[in-house]
């Protein structure tokens, strides 16, 4: 590795997003899995210039609630200039401006967290020179000059100039610029590992790449836009919430705007400053200020888990998912099946079978084959022999076509493989298949295992020696996880190529709700459509080109980064770690995003009660002394009461910035429990907190001489 690459990697590792550790095994119930985004108070200070830049009315108008506060601040400032001796007007104006700045600050902090990641990505996107193939010859063109369909050549040390598919050759590629994972990956033409990403580096060999994406729209470009929030569009749910907030703002605007004639009749005059203060306290500023930060932070939480959502809509949809399609292999079970038992037919000993099984598997480099060798060694003390040790042996390697491996040695032919293939081989050699071989095979299948037959042809003729029991190993903790999902109202469906019997047994062991056996891409598609017809939202993961239609059809389609570009194009999220289990986390992040919005909306609206009790007696107790009975907080003076409410209103925004960035704590429990919990904290809490907060601020203010 050159020092150059090293430097690049170092910079990657420092600036790479704080990634949640790979979590295949759930961490139990006490700890919340989602959440825990980092928040550093220093970020507030750093984002201050950005926050002030956002005071531009053209930016402010995008958030209707905060735009009203902005107009209010302008109004009170103008009125304060008219009456410069009025300290109250100046103080209110200052706090109103702070309210707006705090709101902008929340958004700026949320955006700022993506900036660091974007900078790192930009470094990867250095201007590359592409070697374009024109006929037989090469020409040098800038990476930005490539068109879809161009063929480019990359050799060891080259940076791949754009997204594409390998059409010729095989190479190891360093994709750390995107995934943060420094181990190189293999990319080869044909099959499901042909996709390469612009900005990654070829470490060895030579490949020809067919460009599939326009410059400026490559994966890395999209990633940069995404983490910077530039591509952020308001999601349907956010729009709906904005409409509700806008209508509440109008309602309270009416309540305040109609107050002056009422007050004049009552014999008191309300100043513009007081009216604006009342308005700002009543409209839902807390949620209005934090709404966009919540959305950005939600996307950011995904990025921290190395998942890229192509749209915020997908993140929201993840929260609504009610059916999860999970691939068995890699998600529910460990990647590979393992030999667990040797079952001989009558007339054969276990040791004989084990010996034959090991011999026949030496030429089988698949993980299953390795596990047979290991089991024979561990259970029967058979030393692992090497292919070179046996002279005159003819090794038959395992292929997907023959589905058998074996060895011919000392006049003996030993074969091991899929039941059908071995039975056919035995018959071909003129042998008989004993009845109990069939019975054993069935028994193992029914138990969810995969039977492999071991057969021999020697002087006694061809015959089956016994069966190797291959077992799928279900990952630890999966059952608990599926129980959790069930409590959340999410149905899990295991997708597998296994036969129904095997699938059923594994499904039962893992605790999934349903399974789809011998699944073809068409079956998957049909299942998704069936679920969707019933009004359900479906999430799935996939990596192959044949997964692409299903990924596109699913409401949340998570493509593995190792997958083909067709799969990545079809899905609406890409998991850079290529870890299918992450689908569960994605769902939780989606839910958390919605919960955070709902919780802060509830809090914001509930706050109004206390603010009324502060401001109404302050405004009118002078003309209607009875109204002083509403001053249940016992605030020291009318000015101090109004000021305290305004200050509380501003400070609560800053106080809730960490929560809006981290998200409300989410635990996978039923909707009932979630609602009870959140309603207690943010509903009841929202009623009570401002009474305490305003009283405390009033106590502080009343200490200032000249007030209170």
């Amino acid at each position: 590795m050159t020092t150059d690459t090293q430097k690049q990697e170092d910079s990657m590792s420092t600036a790479a997003p704080t990634r949640a550790p790979h979590q295949d095994v759930p961490t139990g119930h006490k700890e919340s899995r989602v959440g825990a985004g980092l928040f550093d108070p220093k970020q507030l200070l750093k984002s201050l210039p950005d926050a002030c830049r956002k005071l531009d009315p053209r930016v402010m108008v995008k958030s209707p609630v905060m735009f009203v506060v902005w107009i209010g601040s302008v109004l009170t400032t103008v009125f304060s200039f008219k009456d410069p001796g009025d300290w109250f007007g100046w103080t209110i104006s200052a706090w109103l401006w702070l309210t707006v700045v705090f709101a902008n600050l929340a958004e700026a902090v949320a955006e700022g967290r993506g900036k660091a990641q974007a900078d790192t990505l930009r470094k990867a996107k250095t201007d590359t020179v592409a070697r374009r193939l024109v006929g037989e010859s090469e020409e040098q063109v800038p990476g930005t000059g490539l068109r879809i369909g161009d063929l480019v050549v990359c050799e060891a040390g080259d940076i791949i100039p754009g997204d594409g598919d390998v059409v010729e050759g095989v190479a190891s590629v360093d994709e750390s610029a995107i995934t943060g994972e420094s181990a190189p990956v293999i990319r080869e033409s044909g099959g499901d590992r042909s996709a390469v990403t612009g900005g990654t580096k070829v470490l060895s060999d030579r490949i020809v790449i067919k460009i599939t994406t326009k410059p400026g729209e490559t994966f890395i470009d999209r990633m940069i836009n995404l983490v910077e929030g530039a591509a952020r569009q308001k999601t349907p749910n956010e729009i709906a919430l904005n409409i509700l907030l806008a209508s509440l703002t109008i309602v309270f605007l009416l309540a305040v705007a109609t107050l002056p004639p009422f007050a004049d009749y009552a014999g008191t005059h309300l100043t513009m400053v007081v009216l604006v203060a009342l308005l700002v306290c009543l409209i839902p500023t807390t949620i209005g200020a934090l709404l966009s930060a919540i959305g950005i932070a939600g996307m950011d939480r995904l990025v921290q888990r190395n998942v890229l959502a192509m749209s915020g809509r997908a993140v929201e949809a993840a929260g609504d998912v009610s059916t999860l399609l999970l691939d068995k292999t890699g998600t529910i079970t460990l990647g590979n099946r393992q030999a667990s038992e040797f079952v001989p037919v009558s007339g054969t000993t276990e040791a004989e079978l084990a010996d034959a099984a090991q011999l026949s598997s030496l030429a089988d480099e698949t993980p299953e084959g390795r596990s047979i060798v290991v089991l024979a060694k561990e259970k029967y003390g058979l030393r692992e022999r090497h292919q070179g040790e046996l002279t005159g042996a003819e090794w038959i390697a395992f292929t997907a076509q023959t589905r058998m491996s074996g060895v011919d040695v000392d006049g003996r032919k030993i074969r091991k493989g899929a039941a059908g293939s071995v039975v056919a081989w035995v018959r071909e050699q003129g042998g008989e298949v004993s009845e109990d071989a069939g019975a054993l095979t069935d028994r193992i299948s029914e138990a969810g295992g995969t039977p492999l037959l071991v057969a021999v042809e020697d002087t006694d003729g061809a015959r089956v020696l016994g069966v190797i029991h291959l077992k799928d190993v279900v990952k630890e903790g999966m059952r608990e996880r599926f129980d959790e999902l069930r409590r959340m109202g999410i149905k899990t469906v295991m997708i597998t190529g296994d036969n129904p019997l095997t699938a059923k047994a594994i499904a039962a062991e893992a605790g999934v709700d349903d399974f789809l056996a011998e699944a073809t891409p068409e079956d998957k598609m049909a299942l998704i459509k069936r679920e969707q017809a019933g009004g359900k939202l479906v999430a799935m993961t996939g990596d192959g080109t044949n997964d692409a239609p299903a990924l596109a059809q699913a409401d949340v389609g998570v493509a593995m980064n190792t997958g083909t570009s067709a799969a990545k194009e079809a899905g609406n999220m890409v998991d850079l770690d290529s870890n299918p289990t992450k689908l569960i986390e994605i769902v939780e992040i989606g839910k958390q995003l919605l919960i955070t919005r709902g919780a802060l909306t509830t809090f914001s609206i509930a706050n109004d009660v206390a603010k009324y009790f502060a401001i109404i007696p302050a405004l009118f107790a002078a003309v209607y002394p009875g109204l002083d009975k509403l001053n249940i907080m016992g605030l020291s003076s009318p000015d101090s009461a109004i000021l305290s409410a305004v200050i509380f209103n501003a400070l609560i925004i800053i106080a809730l910035v960490p929560l809006s960035l981290k998200g409300v704590r989410y635990r996978p429990v039923s909707a009932d429990k979630l609602l009870r919990r959140n309603l207690t904290i943010y509903g009841i809490g929202g009623l009570v907190a401002p009474f305490i907060g305003i009283k405390l601020i009033d106590l502080l203010i009343s200490l200032i001489p000249g007030i209170g």
């Binding site: 729009i239 309540a255 919605l594 609602l675």
Partner: protein, 554 residues
């Protein structure tokens, strides 16, 4: 027996009666609006008005029918009043002035029944029976029809069709309101309410002097006045008048009548959406607010300061001695929490806080249980708002009864909740800011302000009761109140029907453990809270300057 105990016992008797009627009436109404067959009598009506009762309507068509029918009704009622002098049976009363005729026409068509006239001194038999009484039936039936259309929006899937307005309208009258009213009228007559077409009688008073009394088809109008949550009295004194409401029993019976249909509609709703529990949850929300308001009202009216009130056993001013404080409190709360607006006592004479409770009842949008139909759809819109906020808190796109509450739905619901606050506050502010409207106040200070606030709250929410004292028969009040009634009735209907259409087009989302359970008490609590905070707080500043200022003064 003390007056407090009497009040509580009457309340319990009322609740028992409502509970008895709930199941049969609710089930029956669900059957009425789900039936495929037309009565022969109904077929004649369809033929007469040239309507096809079998076509399904999408929301714009349904809305067009509602508006067209109501517009024709307003014109007809206006002309009837303007031509009264030329009509037979007009008891010699002349044509009504244009502004008052407009006000009265809109008032009865919108189910408000605000009366800026003295019934016994202005309206003859023909206007009362062929005009006002007819509108008492059809305006109530229109309300139920719109509510049923919204319920169908929830119940149906992948269709924009909401039913047939003409069939819903006619059935509401022929199968629900008419039978109920006939029975109710007979009971009222049996208990002493009058029912005749006699002319004006000159009667000598015990204390000297003379009084003019006229007869009329009072009992029959009284029946539909309550059953259809109309509230327009035959006499100016409304249900405080002994011809309309002679005994404590008829008083309780009338309260029962004005509550029975709105409450039972929650069962109709439950049946039609296929979940009785959802209906019970809405019922529980309505009942909680209703009982809570009655408790508050009784508390403030019985809490007596000063020797006069102590001797009377409560705030008896403006209340009939034959009903007492308890029954009057129940009546006042029930009439303002529905869109009835009938009164058996003078709300203006209630304690300051008591007056505030009647105003807040209307300002909540009259949804507990609300007017016939309008109460149900108003409550369902609030449920959608509450579901939206609560639904987010359980981590899903909010859904109610299997329908997603998305951008479109929330837009219509948000528009709905804007309308009445805008009408009440803007018109009240205009009345306070302009120089002349204030001259109509009888009282000064906070109470005077309450008179105007009450008037617009009543008109915009289609209640119809008045904080008696305000002289509302001026051009300003006749026109603006009429406008408030029309806009407060039909704009919300536009959004309700649009909402219904949007819901009916959706495919249902199956409920899972992750779905918000809207049939649980927790949701009911949330809904009550949302109603009080979102709608209630809108009016807090205005209420503070009226009833609160007055009520907290002592």
């Amino acid at each position: 027996m003390g007056p407090v105990l009497a009040g509580v016992l009457q309340l319990l008797a009322l609740i028992a009666a409502l509970a008895l009627a709930y199941v049969p009436l609710g089930t029956y109404m669900a059957r009425v609006y789900s039936s495929d067959t037309h009565w022969r009598f109904e077929k004649w009506i369809y033929k007469g008005i040239g309507a096809n009762p079998n076509t399904e309507m999408r929301w714009p068509a349904y809305l067009r029918c509602v508006l067209a029918f109501s517009a024709v009704s307003v014109v007809f009622l206006y002309l009837l009043q303007r031509l009264q002098g030329h009509l037979p049976g007009s008891l010699g009363f002349k044509a009504i002035d244009p502004d008052q005729a407009f006000n009265t026409a809109t008032s009865f068509v919108t189910n408000t029944n605000w009366q800026s006239y003295y019934g016994e001194q202005a309206m003859g038999h023909v206007v009362q029976t062929a005009g006002l009484a007819v509108q008492n039936f059809v305006s109530a039936a229109v309300g139920i029809a719109v509510a049923v259309a919204l319920v169908r929006g929830f119940a149906r899937a992948r269709t924009g069709e909401l039913g047939n307005f003409w069939s819903d309208l006619v059935r509401g009258v022929t199968r629900i309101l008419l039978p109920l009213s006939v029975v109710a009228a007979i009971v009222l007559v049996a208990c002493g309410a009058i029912q005749n077409f006699s002319g004006i009688h000159e009667v000598g008073q015990f204390v000297g002097g003379h009084q003019q009394w006229n007869g009329g088809a009072v009992a029959s109008q009284e029946a539909i006045k309550e059953v259809g949550t109309n509230g327009g009295g035959y006499f100016n004194a409304n249900s405080a008048h002994p011809f309309e409401n002679p005994t404590p029993f008829t008083n309780l019976f009338e309260i029962f009548l004005l509550l029975v249909v709105p409450f039972a509609l929650t069962r109709t709703f439950g049946i039609m959406v296929g979940s009785l529990k959802q209906g019970y949850a809405i019922l529980a929300t309505m009942a909680t607010i209703w009982v809570g308001f009655i408790a508050l009202m009784m508390w403030t009216e019985f809490a007596h300061h000063g020797p006069a009130l102590q001797i009377a056993g409560g705030a008896m001013e403006g209340k009939e001695t034959r009903f007492g404080v308890g029954a009057s409190s129940i009546f006042a709360v029930s009439t303002t929490l529905t869109s009835t607006g009938a009164v058996d006592s003078f709300h203006s004479s209630f304690t300051g806080l008591g007056g505030g409770i009647t105003m807040l009842g209307m300002q909540l949008g009259e949804i507990a249980p609300g007017g016939t139909g309008s109460g149900l759809y108003g409550m369902l819109v609030m449920a959608i708002i509450a579901v939206f906020i609560a639904g987010l808190m359980v981590g899903r796109t909010p859904e109610y009864l299997g329908k997603k509450i998305g951008t479109r739905e929330i837009k219509f619901a948000a528009c709905y909740i804007l309308i009445t606050p805008a009408l009440v506050l803007i018109f009240t502010a205009a009345a306070m800011a302009l120089p002349t409207p204030g001259h109509s106040m009888t009282n000064s200070g906070a109470h005077g302000f309450s008179e105007i606030l009450y008037a617009y709250s009543s008109a915009a929410n289609n209640n119809g009761s008045a904080f008696a004292g305000l002289n509302a028969d001026t051009q300003w009040f006749n026109s603006t109140l009429g406008l408030a009634m029309v806009l407060g009735r039909f704009l919300p209907m536009v959004f309700v029907l649009a909402l219904a259409g949007s819901l009916a087009e959706q495919k249902p989302v199956p409920a899972t453990a992750g779905t918000l359970r809207t049939e649980k008490p927790l949701f009911t609590g949330l809904l009550v809270g949302a109603i009080l905070i979102i709608t209630g707080l809108t009016y807090f500043p205005a209420l503070a300057l009226g009833p609160l200022a007055e009520g907290l003064a002592s």
